[in-house]
Symmetry: C2
Subunit: 369 residues, 2 copies
């Protein structure tokens, strides 16, 4: 006899939303030469941010300020909202878990796209929600179908990302606003804008914190190059932002992370420079794809999703052949999207390696599939 888990916990699988590249490296027995799979920013954080972390490394015997006061002030100023409209958390992943917990009980319908961000699904499953999925259309999240599903299911929660992961596609702000205007007042939209900084400015609707049913989520993990530090934030109406204080881990933030994020926000010149490098790397990945007869799907993110032109098993064979050649990439797994591989931006030498190895990987995939 042993302590009984709740029936919900008992029913869940021991799963991971993603296998890390480190696990693959351990399995392979050697490191990757190009780390292009996790939508990280290989150009790294700003030198000013690295210096600030180094300067403050000795301060980490202190807990971080549980109110994230300085960072929230700076974010509010940067975004043109008040600090009461901002909640900071240990990455968007943590904030997604908290928002799911706010709206989802066992059996609650939650709408998302089939093949969208697995970590959101992980949280919905973890709180017993019932995932209602809508297929992508033309490699974009299908806003009309998402809206129809919300209404049909009377779902209190709907999630999508703009720009989108894993496809890299995006909607213009006007389309997003049209979705928000049509959304039932009783449904919370979590609009994941993790890739907002690498998108055309025209893809981001103005922040409207008067809306109680929209949470916009952003992160320091992508353009700011701080994935390993875990810092995301949500922007919304004050009451909905305050609700996070009921359940968030108040002392969960890392002290160096607060310092890193604050310095990153203040170094907008670096952000501009690195965004240019990201866009240049996107273009190069698209050219490499084209040179191999593959079609790169236009991207507003820090990765490029490449249509391998055949079915899922073929794209999987391409992925495995790349991994065999020491190139870490990932791929969408849901039907139709699964004909693609997903290649994150990286340093020139990493893209050189990708360019060199892709023809061989395609040839190998040809043989095995």
């Amino acid at each position: 006899m042993e302590p009984l888990f709740t029936s919900l916990i008992d029913s869940l699988p021991s799963t991971v939303p993603f296998v890390g590249p480190e696990a693959l490296e351990r399995k392979r027995g050697r490191p990757f030469r190009a780390r292009l799979g996790a939508n990280e920013n290989g150009f790294g954080p700003a030198p000013s941010v690295i210096a600030a972390m180094q300067d403050h490394a000795g301060d980490v015997w202190k807990y971080a300020d549980p109110e994230n006061y300085d960072l929230k002030q700076a974010l509010a100023t940067h975004l043109g909202v008040t600090p009461g409209n901002v909640v900071v958390g240990e990455g968007i992943d943590t904030l997604l878990g908290l928002v799911v917990r706010q709206y989802v009980r066992e059996g609650t319908p939650v709408v998302t796209s089939l093949g969208a961000y697995p970590t959101f699904n992980f949280h919905v499953a973890g709180f017993g929600g019932r995932l209602v999925t809508v297929p992508y259309r033309d490699d974009r999240e299908d806003l009309d179908a998402l809206l129809a599903a919300v209404k049909r299911e009377q779902a209190p929660l709907v999630y999508f990302s703009n720009p989108d992961n894993p496809m890299g596609t995006w909607w213009e702000a006007g389309e997003i606003e049209r979705f928000i205007d049509a959304l039932p007042a009783s449904t919370m939209l979590v609009l994941d804008e993790a890739y907002g900084e690498t998108a055309p400015i025209t893809a981001l609707p103005p922040l409207d914190v008067s809306r109680p049913n929209v949470l916009r989520m952003r992160t320091f993990s992508k353009a700011y190059g701080l994935a390993g530090m875990r810092c995301g934030y949500a922007v919304g109406a004050e009451k909905q932002i305050n609700a996070f204080d009921k359940i968030r881990n108040h002392f969960g933030m890392n002290k160096l992370t607060q310092i890193a994020a604050l310095n990153a926000l203040h170094d907008q010149n670096y952000l501009k420079a690195v965004t240019s490098r990201i866009i240049a790397a996107r273009e190069r990945i698209a050219l490499i794809a084209a040179a191999n007869g593959l079609k790169a799907i236009p991207s507003a993110t820090n990765f490029v999703t490449i249509d391998c032109g055949r079915d899922g098993p073929y794209a999987l064979a391409v992925l495995n052949a790349l991994i065999d050649r020491d190139i870490f990439v990932r791929k969408p797994m849901a039907p139709v999207l699964d004909r693609c591989i997903r290649v994150s931006v990286g340093l020139d030498e990493e893209l050189d390696t990708f360019e060199q190895q892709l023809p061989q990987a395609l040839a190998a995939a040809e043989e095995t599939s």
Copy 2:
């Protein structure tokens, strides 16, 4: 109209387990001269750990290994268990939240001591559990009464810390083992050993990972001086440890934190040295208390709880008078315990300040209470 929170979320207050010293500093308009309230380790982390964080500050564009492989291997070796017996999380606070979620539904009884760690209570309330509290006896957690409450309530979860926070007291290993032996097999004990490294070795029972109903929790926040990096771990039977993978934030760990913890674990010489300094500081705090006619309660932690000799309001007045004099300390709030203030170890100059100001603070408290 707006999206409806679950009834549980709706019923929760927007609360914080602790107000941070930074918030007090903002309110006061000036910084503290002595930061002795949060049970941090003012002696800081090992120089080797600081250097490792500085060396790797540029690597934080990468997500951390979601499996915490290297750290779990090192911990397992250090503890004499297997990696499958260890789960790493963003501080004990996060692990407490996860374990509560595993066993607690709305209305589930959970046993703890009245006045024990508020963050555990915060999580129990956050998942709708029903807190069943047992008073301390002679400033120690009352193991017999905790056990009786577990049996009476048929509680699936019981929590206590050894050494104890906020009193600093402890039980010897034999008493803890007696408790574990008498515990119903259907009840999970969360034994919080955050202060294990500063305790007499005789206070820590040998790890027995064959027991499916005991989780031992430890941290890098206290003796290792890494509170701001957020790293704790739980040790237990494999099935119970695996259950964390069902719901934990797999990519929640900070990459620099993994590096810091690994290096801290490898620098046991520093741990020994800093533990001596902690013990010396404890002794000095006790002497300062005695010089002012107050009684320090014997402590096995990195803080000393001082009996101010009168009632709660008087101790609160002493606390406020210390804060007015730029000394950050905290105090227990539950009846009987609330006659005390709690002073964390710190640098010599901080304890000098405490020594200088305590007589005036006592005089001020005398006037106001």
